[in-house]
Every structure is written in structure tokens, then in C-alpha cells.
């Protein structure tokens, strides 16, 4: 028993887990307007049931439902990186500093004096 549990891909636990991952969605993604790419995702019976139920409740096909959910999440993640948020107090001080007179920064002056990389 012990040896079985420690062995690789053929263990009993793996087999039963794989059986539950039997539902396969094919989701087509949008790239420059033409849906030419596919994403394949394996899900459990339970995930399959809850997604189908939610898609039906939303009046969408399963693939349209998955695509809109994933794309919304993807854009949110990208947004988190691009858009910084500050408390109101910090933002007020930060924005006020925009009006301060700017002056040469020695370290930046040194940086832009390094040898140029030529553009080709």
C-alpha cells in the first residue's frame, strides 16, 4: 500500500482525481477580432455543474459565459498593474506636488549623460 501511494502517475489517488476531471471546455478567444485561438480547460463535475447553472441563469452559452468572466478578470489584473490607487489624503499631497517648480535632478542628469543606444 505504502509503495503504491509513493509511486508516480499510476497511483490510486491520481486515477480517481483524473476521473473527476472529465469535462472539457473548448473556449475560443478573441485576437484582433477573429477567434482563431483555443483554450482548453479541464474541470471537475462540480465545477462543470456550477458553471452551467450560472451560465443558464445569465442567459449565456457556457463558452460565452466563461469567456466574458475570464476576459473581465484578465483586464482587471492588467488594470491593477497600470493604475495606482492612493488614499485621498496621500493623493491630495501627491497631486499638489505636481504644481511645485521642477528642478534638475543630479542623478537623472547623470543618467541621461550615459552613452546613447543608437536607434536602428
Amino acid at each position: 500500500m505504502r509503495r503504491d501511494a509513493l509511486s508516480g502517475g499510476g497511483s490510486k489517488g491520481d486515477a480517481s482525481r483524473l476521473r473527476s476531471l472529465k469535462c472539457l471546455y473548448n473556449v475560443r478567444t478573441v485576437t484582433t477580432g477573429i477567434r482563431s485561438r483555443r483554450i482548453d480547460i479541464r474541470v471537475t463535475d462540480e465545477q462543470d455543474a456550477v458553471i452551467r447553472e450560472a451560465a443558464a441563469a445569465a442567459g449565456q452559452t457556457v463558452s460565452a459565459f466563461l469567456l466574458s468572466a475570464a476576459e473581465g478578470r484578465a483586464r482587471a489584473v492588467l488594470d491593477e498593474r497600470r493604475h495606482l490607487v492612493m488614499s485621498d489624503r496621500a493623493f491630495a499631497a501627491f497631486a499638489a506636488a505636481l504644481d511645485d517648480a521642477s528642478e534638475p535632478v543630479p542623478a537623472l542628469g547623470e543618467l541621461v549623460s550615459l552613452p546613447r543606444l543608437h536607434r536602428t
Partner: protein
């Protein structure tokens, strides 16, 4: 060392061997940079040295905004997010490190950022430092920590303009 050059990312470039020591930055260049560029989400520039990719930088746009809903904005506070140019990623291949290539590339990225803000106004350059070592690199070149946003640093575009000869 040969004379390195700066080129915009294009489809024919072989990126597969890029290795900067931070897998996340390698994977992004190899797997996502071109798709991001095609989708107009980020522009990537490569430093080529003797035909190989020695470094890259990616730029995009962003903003800095307060967490409050607009109706709660205090008097005198700008009512709109502050537009920024974001240096999202900058990495140097291991074989080209310790030659100031990253610093020279940062200088070029700042020139690109100033040029972009001359065309479509932005107020700050924000840099996204992947770790403490990267943050120290940007501080060494005069960047300041963004309040409440760890490993994000900034400089006003006007400061960069005024520091250029």
C-alpha cells in the same frame, strides 16, 4: 563589447534564449510581449548586441488615482486620475549584466516617455520594480517611492525634462 542598438520589438525577432535571472520577466518577453504589442497594451523595445537580445523594456500608459468616489473629492483635488507613462518591465540578459546596459536603457526609456508625453500629455513616469534590488536601482537614478504603493517609483515628467541637457 560591440555597439548595442535599440529597436522596437517585431515578430521576426528570436526571443527564446533571453535569460535575465528572473523567470517572470523572461516569460513575459518570450510569451506575451508581442501579443501585448499587437493588442496595443504595451510597447517593447529591445537592446541588440551582436545579433542577440541583450535587454528589453516595455512601456505602457497608466494612472494614479484616489480611492474615493468622485463626489467625495476634496476641494482643490484634481477631479481626474493623473495620467502616467509606466515603465512596466526592464530586464538585462545575464550575459550582458554589469555593463550599465540597464541604466542606458532606462535613459532611453525616459526619452521615449518624454516624447510620448509631448504628444499626449502625461504628468509622471512610474516604474514597476519587480523586487527590492530593482527598486534600489531606480532610487539610485533619482526615482522616488510612490506613497502607499510598494515597489512603484516615480518622477515628474517635468523633472526629467529639466534634467536633460
Amino acid at each position: 563589447m560591440s555597439d548595442p542598438s535599440l529597436v522596437a520589438l517585431s515578430a521576426e525577432r528570436d526571443l527564446s534564449g533571453f535569460d535575465c535571472g528572473t523567470p517572470e520577466l523572461d516569460r513575459w518577453l518570450i510569451d506575451h510581449a508581442l501579443a501585448s504589442q499587437k493588442a496595443d497594451l504595451a510597447r517593447t523595445y529591445l537592446v541588440l548586441d551582436g545579433g542577440s537580445v541583450a535587454a528589453y523594456v516595455s512601456l505602457t500608459t497608466g494612472s494614479i488615482r484616489p480611492e474615493a468616489a468622485p463626489k467625495r473629492y476634496a476641494r482643490g483635488m484634481p477631479r481626474y486620475p493623473i495620467p502616467t507613462i509606466l515603465i512596466a518591465r526592464l530586464a538585462v540578459d545575464r550575459r550582458h549584466q554589469r555593463q550599465r546596459l540597464g541604466s542606458r536603457l532606462l535613459a532611453e526609456a525616459l526619452r521615449l516617455a518624454v516624447a510620448a508625453s509631448n504628444t499626449a500629455a502625461a504628468r509622471h513616469v512610474v516604474v514597476d520594480a519587480i523586487d527590492d534590488r530593482a527598486a534600489a536601482f531606480y532610487r539610485r537614478w533619482g526615482f522616488i517611492d510612490v506613497p502607499e504603493n510598494p515597489n512603484r517609483l516615480f518622477r515628474k515628467i517635468s523633472d526629467i525634462r529639466n534634467s536633460s541637457p
